[in-house]
């Protein structure tokens, strides 16, 4: 919409004075105002009001509002920049001011009516933040800030593309390091770098020198990378030499990954182990949802089966049955999860599409309630769960493999193995059958794919991966409770697969890193994690249904219109180019 308006405006500029699109401007401003008020009342602004991003300069809560102003201004300017840059700045300033005016309105209304009776976050602290601590007489303050920030965003929008992206990347990096500075600081304090860490990084956020360093450092790196163009250079190398460059790079990355927890401490190890666990789960669901197109909202059931199997078989507490080692119990966990997938799968696999999602959701909830109920309390421990589960590798507590570091390596190793398995599965006859079913069940059946068998296999494989993840998670935590098998977990996994890109293995890894890793690192944010997932699910479905790192086939499926154009292009290609394109 905005792109076409922009082009139309640009085209007309030479002949007639182009319109200002006042309605569009007003709408952007109102939308921005609603978003800004939402950010305030949902708690993101006030809750993070005391969390510095750059110490003494800006707090995270304010930054959220500034970003809202900036985005609104940027959007407004983008519609006008085609006419003239000056116009873009004017438009973005106005829109920023409109957005700010909504906050002014919030302050004024809040000074008359006690909004706190309804919205917990409409606190005096929020009003103080919005008025710079000066009370209602400063209610105009958000308008000023909005106009300035919006205007600056308008200036940025008018910059040449390269400079603009350079600035935006540097700002993004500033935000990133501001959020995670404390995490970097802690491990650095025990090294010789402690002095530098104390100078640049605060326990929360960056100090001013650190911020300057990060901002200009990122700029420098981007400029250098752009100048060197490593990717094009490597691509341009002949095959043998490329291997010479990429081989050592791969080994270097491997070494970094292996030494990572030793250098960064066990907190990071724990986070990455969790991420690896979700990669396992994601790869499992990637088969059922991504390849075979079966939306399973009760995925957590298989996780539970794996977890409880290992807990029962290895536990040393009152519910331990066999006192096996972890390694002896894992095959059972996987097999039981697969068996469970058959039992659950057989009745429901003839249901299709959206009904299947709800049926699996029902199954997941049934399992959760049964596990925690008095009925199975004698076997599964009821709400108290099963505790005292030994670690996979028994070592003394002083050994370097003790604690989360062990699980880090374990989960990572399993994730790599499972990624390999699912990569091979995807290219196999079975994998192609799955994708055929996803595309069109009837056609697939017509081509000789046995629907029930193939779907069941997808279900079983997904279940097996989830069972494995459950087994590892029990070893990670050392206990299992009915509360650890919530619907939330299934939703998490669905979000990973959907956001990363259905059917794409790198997508799952990226999805897990972004959706699990970042929130795990940024603990204060955990209350808003699922809020963010909700927005991510809607946004991805609307703007990029193939996900962030899509597999080729999914892109083709979801963009049939673009694909038709592309196919026309393909007709014009030389035959050898076509061969090159279709090569995997």
């Amino acid at each position: 919409m905005s792109a076409s308006t922009f082009q139309a405006a640009g085209g007309m500029a030479e002949t007639a004075p182009s319109p200002w699109h006042l309605r569009t401007l007003l709408r952007t401003g109102v939308l921005g105002g609603v978003v800004a008020i939402y950010l305030c009342l949902v708690g993101i602004v006030p809750v993070f009001a005391d969390r510095p991003l750059i110490v003494g300069v800006v707090e995270l809560g304010q930054a959220a509002l500034l970003i809202a102003f900036g985005v609104v201004g940027y959007l407004a300017a983008r519609d006008q920049v085609g006419v003239s840059r000056f116009r873009g700045v004017v438009a973005s300033t106005v829109v920023g001011a409109i957005t700010g005016a909504f906050l002014t309105g919030l302050v004024l209304v809040g000074s008359v009516v006690d909004l706190r009776a309804v919205f917990l976050n409409a606190s005096p602290e929020l009003y103080a933040l919005l008025t710079n601590g000066q009370g209602t007489s400063w209610a105009w303050y958000p308008i000023l800030v909005g106009a300035i920030t919006g205007g600056l965003a308008g200036v940025v929008a008018g910059l040449p593309a390269r400079l603009r992206s350079l600035l935006l990347i540097s700002l993004g990096s500033l935000l990133f390091f501001g959020l995670f500075a404390g995490l970097l600081r802690t491990p650095m304090l025990v090294t010789p770098l402690a002095g530098i860490a104390r100078f640049l990084l605060a326990p929360d956020g960056l100090f001013v020198p650190g911020a300057i360093l990060v901002f200009f450092g990122t700029m420098a790196i981007v400029v250098i990378v752009r100048g060197v163009k490593p990717r094009q250079r490597v691509d341009a190398l002949p095959r043998t030499q490329r291997r010479l460059v990429l081989g050592p790079a791969a080994i270097l990355i491997l070494v970094v990954i292996l030494l990572f927890p030793l250098a960064m401490g066990s907190f990071f190890a724990q986070v990455i182990a969790t991420v690896a666990l979700f990669i396992l789960l994601g790869l499992g669901l990637n088969i059922t949802l991504g390849l075979a197109g079966l939306l399973d909202l009760g995925f957590v059931a298989f996780f539970a089966v794996g977890a409880y199997t290992v807990a029962l078989l290895t536990g040393t507490g009152e519910f331990g049955l066999a006192h096996l080692t972890f390694w002896q119990a894992v095959p059972f966990a996987v097999i039981f999860a697969m068996g469970f997938a058959i039992v659950l799968g057989l009745p429901i696999l003839r249901i299709r599409g959206d009904y299947l999602a709800i049926a699996t959701l029902g199954f997941g909830e049934i399992i959760r309630i049964l596990v925690g109920s008095d009925l199975l309390k004698g076997a599964l421990g009821g709400p108290q769960g099963i505790q005292l589960i030994p670690k996979p590798i028994a070592v003394a507590t002083t050994h370097w493999l003790a604690g989360p570091i062990q699980i880090y390596y374990l989960a990572l190793a399993f994730a790599v193995v499972v990624a390999f398995v699912s990569w091979r599965l995807r290219g196999s006859r079975l994998g192609r059958s799955w994708m055929a079913i996803r595309e069109d069940e009837d056609v697939a059946e017509g081509m000789g794919v046995n629907l029930v068998q193939t779907k069941l296999l997808a279900y079983m494989m997904g279940g097996a991966f989830a069972g494995l993840a459950g087994a590892i998670s029990v070893a990670l935590v050392g206990s299992v409770f009915p509360t650890s098998i919530q619907l939330q977990l299934s939703i998490n996994v669905v979000a990973i697969v959907v956001v990363g890109g259905m059917g794409s293995i790198p997508g799952v890894v990226l999805g897990a890193l972004v959706l699990i890793g970042l929130p795990e690192l940024f603990r204060e944010f955990s209350d808003y994690r699922l809020l963010f997932y909700g927005i991510a699910l809607m946004g991805v479905m609307i703007y990029r249904p193939e996900g962030l790192l899509p597999s080729r086939i999914a892109t083709r499926e979801l963009h049939t219109a673009d694909e038709l154009v592309e196919m026309d292009d393909a007709d014009l290609l030389a035959p050898d180019e076509i061969a090159e394109r279709s090569a995997p």
Binding site: G43, L295, I358, I366, I369
Partner: protein
């Protein structure tokens, strides 16, 4: 050849499995009921009391189910966020109730109390309609013609967004509806042992559902909605604004869900940010049970599900000596969900609306 034999074998295996599945369920229901009744654990009065509770719960489910069934009928999508629309209504009703409580109107007399409740319902309806319109506009409309799973996932996203927004706005605690003395008094209805509030819930929901039924069947907008459900293209050719019909469907469904939220709050007193999800799924079950797209079916399905959920655990399970059966009421309801979806996805009264799901 070998492959074909394997195929046939799996087919037979599945048939056997499905037969066993069905047999086990029937056996549990029949034997369980027989054992329970034989044990004489519950008197007839107990059963009537449970039935009364079931009808109250069921009429709320029925009201929510109408929203699911109508949206599914017209758009062929599960409006996963509908439970959160219900939650929004419950919260709106709560805050209105608190305000009315401060003025004293809620408890002053029976008449002013009833008027206050009507105001609460109207406010809740307005809020729910606003929410539903926003969700429809942002999360569903851009995806009208996308493959089935795409709008469903977007709807799940919308549901999460609304849940956690409510949590951000109102905090993670439970809110208790103000207690209204005249509603908590027992109603003079023999056997069912209902409170006045339950009577109010049942009467109000039946009135609203009856009104909705007449509206759908008689009014011009209702006719338009039915026509668009039947065939969007042809309806458009007849000069019906399909978009408007779809929006009206969301409005009507949301209004009922909002009202249901207030009734839920009055009857069960507690509202919270997560309250929408489970009643939402159950109401969807009710909608499928009655035949999706079928307005009358959703009402019957809701009542039936409410009854099963309340009576079922005691009737089917306690005979086997299962401890604390009420813990398992959701298990009974969700089993019902799976059974309906597996064995009778077209529901009791049959589906209505656009081409049967092929």
């Amino acid at each position: 050849m070998n492959v074909r034999r394997l195929d046939r074998l799996t087919d037979v295996a599945i048939d056997v499995f499905m037969f066993t599945f069905r047999a086990v369920i029937i056996l549990v229901v029949v034997v369980g009921s027989a054992l329970t009744l034989a044990s004489g654990k519950y008197t007839a009065a107990d059963w009537f009391q449970l039935a009364g509770k079931g009808i109250t719960l069921g009429s709320i489910y029925a009201m929510i189910a109408l929203g699911y069934t109508m949206v599914y009928g017209i758009l062929r999508m599960i409006n996963f966020a509908h439970g959160e629309i219900f939650m929004g209504g419950a919260f709106a009703g709560y805050f209105t109730a608190v305000a009315l409580m401060q003025t004293g109107a809620l408890t002053a007399s029976v008449i002013s109390g009833l008027i206050s409740i009507a105001i609460m319902i109207l406010v809740a309806m307005a809020v729910s309609i606003g929410l539903a319109l926003a969700v429809e506009r942002t999360a569903y409309r851009p995806l009208r013609n996308a493959p089935t799973l795409v709008p469903l996932i977007s709807a799940i996203g919308a549901s999460l967004f609304l849940q956690y927004s409510a949590r951000g706005f109102f905090g993670s605690g439970l809110y208790g509806y103000p207690s209204i003395p005249f509603l908590n008094a027992p109603a003079p209805i023999p056997l069912l042992n209902m409170r006045w509030v339950d009577v109010l819930v049942v009467v109000a929901s039946f009135c609203m559902m009856g009104g909705l039924y007449l509206f759908i069947m008689r009014s011009k907008v209702g006719t338009a909605i039915r026509a668009v459900s039947e065939d969007k293209g042809t309806a458009a050719l007849m000069g019906i604004d399909a978009n408007r019909a779809i929006v009206m469907t969301f409005v009507i469904g949301a209004a009922l869900a909002g009202a249901a939220g207030v009734l839920w709050g009055l009857s069960y007193t507690q509202v919270a940010w997560f309250m929408g999800i489970v009643p939402g799924i159950k109401a969807f079950t009710a909608a499928v049970l009655g035949g999706i797209g079928n307005v009358l079916g959703a009402m019957l399905g809701g009542l039936f599900l409410g009854l099963i959920e309340v009576v079922g655990p005691n009737l089917f399970l306690s005979g086997f000596g299962v401890p604390s059966v009420t813990q398992l009421k959701d298990v009974v309801a969700f089993t019902m969900l799976v059974l309906v979806l597996v064995f009778r996805p077209s529901g009791i009264l049959g589906e209505r609306g656009a081409r049967s799901r092929a």
